[in-house]
């Protein structure tokens, strides 16, 4: 009934615009389902475009809506498929396009080339490195001793999973908590040293000295507003990690307690935000509260899905420009390894550094062969072992440089 008569009546016009609006709303819903961030303002602008004559030419409308609704490259790439599927009734060519895994193949970017090259060569030249357990390392653990972690020294090189008797375990836990405290102290000290005013704030100086007839007697220094380093820890609490989970939970508890800004998440098949539970002052009670959360519901580890949840719901709030994300996991992904690769890449774009701690990397003869860790490694800034206290200590100078 839309355009049969030469002059459509007012009722007909209303009917048409109502239909178009309903269809547009459904399209917006489709876009939102596919991860587009479109709001009311975009919807109104789209409706304005429809009435401005764009609706008559599908090609033009598609291009116009693409600019309006896309907000990032991934949106940009999947928009055409979604538009054609919705408005023109074409089928989306395959699911992989909608989810974007064909991206690298269709549009080989510089980065994907590099990554491929690195994977082939087996080198990690682009990844940051910390010195492994050699001479310089023992020097550092010496510093640690001076600052009071003396109980740790005889245990520094013992793999956590070899700690059998409860007393030793308790010692390791205590050492992990101490370590977190030392890390905080060093990082803050560095902050303060940098804060000494670094240039004149002329605007305030002039203002304050008007009463002196403009002679700048009292100077106002401008200080650098330093954002404290924020740590976000994502801990794998799946079955394969069970021998390490306890120590790391204790470490995280220490980190949350001592760092001004830190957040912690647990994941196995789901992701859980545990900062609140970990804020409990008493460590053992905090760990008790967590033991329920840490038990995997069902088997397996879905690192990719957990990261997806993190990126979708938590990342914007939790991550700022001076954030270091620490993922503690063995990388045994039972879900989709490609998804893990994509999500860790998205995370890498958001935060300052990603550190991947793999307890197994300290084992002799271990090579990162698991599909999950292979997919993640190209996007990780630092890949380090974390099976001993020493390897945790080695992390601190790295964080101090951020």
């Amino acid at each position: 009934m839309s355009c049969c008569g030469p002059v459509p009546t007012r009722d007909e016009m209303d009917e048409v615009s109502r239909l178009v609006t309903a269809k547009l709303a459904a399209f917006l819903r489709t876009l939102r389902d596919n991860g587009f961030a479109v709001g009311l303002a975009e919807g109104q602008d789209a409706a304005a475009l429809m009435t401005a004559g764009y609706a008559k030419r599908p090609g033009l409308l598609r291009s116009a809506l693409k600019h309006l609704f896309s907000a990032r490259k991934s949106d940009w790439e999947k928009f055409d498929g979604l538009f054609d599927a919705f408005w023109l009734g074409k089928r989306v060519r395959s699911r992989s396009i909608a989810t974007g895994s064909a991206k690298a193949a269709n549009n080989p970017s510089l980065k994907s080339f590099q990554n491929a090259a690195e994977r082939q060569a087996g080198s990690d030249a682009a990844t940051d490195q910390i010195p492994s357990a050699d001479g310089s390392d023992s020097e550092r653990s010496g510093e640690g001793r001076m600052e009071g972690a003396s109980r740790a020294d005889n245990m520094a090189e013992v793999d956590f999973r070899k700690l059998a008797d409860p007393e030793q375990v308790e010692q390791a836990h205590q050492a992990a908590a101490d370590l977190a405290r030392i890390m905080r102290a060093r990082l803050t000290r560095r902050d303060l040293a940098r804060r000494r005013g670094y240039r004149l704030d002329l605007r305030r100086t002039i203002h304050r000295n008007i009463s002196h007839g403009g002679v700048p007697i009292s100077l106002v220094n401008r200080r650098r507003k330093d954002k404290p380093l924020r740590l976000v820890v994502l801990l794998d609490a799946s079955g394969s990690m069970s021998m390490y989970t306890g120590v790391f939970l204790r470490f995280i508890h220490g980190v949350l307690d001592e760092f001004r800004e830190a957040e912690a998440f647990l994941f196995h098949t789901r992701l859980a935000h545990v900062s609140d539970a970990m804020k409990e002052r008493d460590a053992s009670r905090a760990l008790d509260r967590l033991s329920v959360m840490a038990q995997g519901a069902g088997g397996g580890t879905k690192i990719g899905e957990s990261l997806q949840t993190f990126n979708r719901w938590h990342a914007a709030r939790v991550i700022h420009s001076r954030t270091c994300v620490i993922v503690v996991s063995d990388g045994y992904e039972t879900g989709d390894a490609a998804l893990l690769g994509r999500e860790i890449a998205a995370l890498a774009r958001r935060c300052r550094r990603i550190v991947w701690l793999n307890p197994m990397a300290g084992w002799q003869g271990y090579a990162p062969e698991a599909a999950g860790i292979k997919a993640a490694l190209p996007h990780v800034d630092l890949y380090a072992p974390a099976n001993t206290l020493q390897s945790l200590t080695a992390l601190e100078p790295y964080l101090a440089r951020l």
Partner: protein, 290 residues
């Protein structure tokens, strides 16, 4: 300036060969009064879009280059302290309030790009380059400016925009931009041009480049981009190379394979890439260029 064909034509006249989608984006900028966010690899000509736009509108281009630590005094306005100090000395002995009013007047205000952009009679093109390098705080401030187009200066009052500038933002994706800023903007992803468009760009920008050479250069560059390079050559590099070849009086790449190899320095900007593009690789790529 309603339809995109006209916009594309006028961009071409100013030396920027746009694809149809970019022309649509620019017509939408006018229609919806939204800023345009351009993303893409370095060297695909994002900044050039703003320059071409300024010449199409025959208006001024105001550029704000973002960097880490960029703050309001470098982006928005600053007082001219030297003159203020002199003025305070000159008015010594007068009423302090009057002196204060005097030195915080328009005369002592230094416009920085953002303030300049909203105080022009004729709406200028405001290019906010590499917004991803600025801090989160600056981004939030920018968002406010881009929605209200007014600025409050405590000593002077609120300055309202006399004309809404055409705003173009560019980003290289070194940092994830906030969703709020992305939503505020129209989005366009600038990709490397295809062979045909790149050849037309060469012909438009390099004096003396014939059609056949331009096409050869564009094909060669396209195949170089497919190699595993650390720094993929952008359009600017292509233009440099084409200009170098024209300067060496080369009309056909096949007749001068030695010079082709020697002028590769225009395209390859890292040592690793140089090592990778050996004589043999160059010859192989050259062989594929018809």
């Amino acid at each position: 300036m309603k339809n995109r064909e006209e916009i594309a034509e006028r961009l071409a006249a100013s030396g920027y060969i746009a694809d149809a989608e970019l022309a649509t984006a620019i017509s939408l900028m006018n229609l919806l009064k939204r800023p345009l966010l351009l993303e893409g690899e370095a060297g695909v000509g994002k900044t050039e879009v703003a320059k071409a736009l300024a010449s199409v509108y025959a208006t001024e281009l105001i550029r704000l280059q973002c960097y880490e630590g960029l703050d309001q005094s470098a982006a928005l306005y600053e007082w001219n302290y030297q003159r203020q100090l002199l003025s305070i000395q000159a008015h010594r002995g007068e009423d302090a309030d009057r002196v204060e009013d005097h030195i915080f007047s328009e005369k002592y205000l230094l416009e920085r790009p953002l303030l300049a952009a909203i105080r022009r009679e004729q709406p200028p093109v405001l290019l906010i380059d590499e917004i991803d390098r600025a801090d989160d705080e600056f981004e939030a401030f920018l968002l406010e400016l881009l929605s209200d187009f007014q600025v409050s200066i405590p000593e002077l009052g609120t300055v309202k925009a006399t004309a809404i500038p055409h705003v173009v933002l560019t980003s290289n994706g070194t940092r994830e931009l906030s969703d709020a800023l992305r939503r505020r903007c129209l989005y366009h992803y600038v990709d490397y041009p295809d062979v045909d468009r790149e050849a037309r760009i060469i012909m438009a920008r390099v004096n003396g480049a014939g059609a056949s050479l331009a096409l050869q250069v564009a094909r060669m560059v396209e195949s170089i981009r497919k190699e595993e390079l650390r720094k993929v050559p952008g359009v600017a590099e292509t233009l440099d190379w084409a200009a170098a070849l024209v300067g060496l009086d080369i009309g056909n790449l096949h007749d001068a394979s030695e010079q082709v190899f020697e002028t590769m320095m225009c395209l390859l900007k890292t040592q690793e890439d140089k090592v990778r593009m050996t004589r043999e690789v160059t010859a192989r790529l050259l062989g594929k260029v018809a």
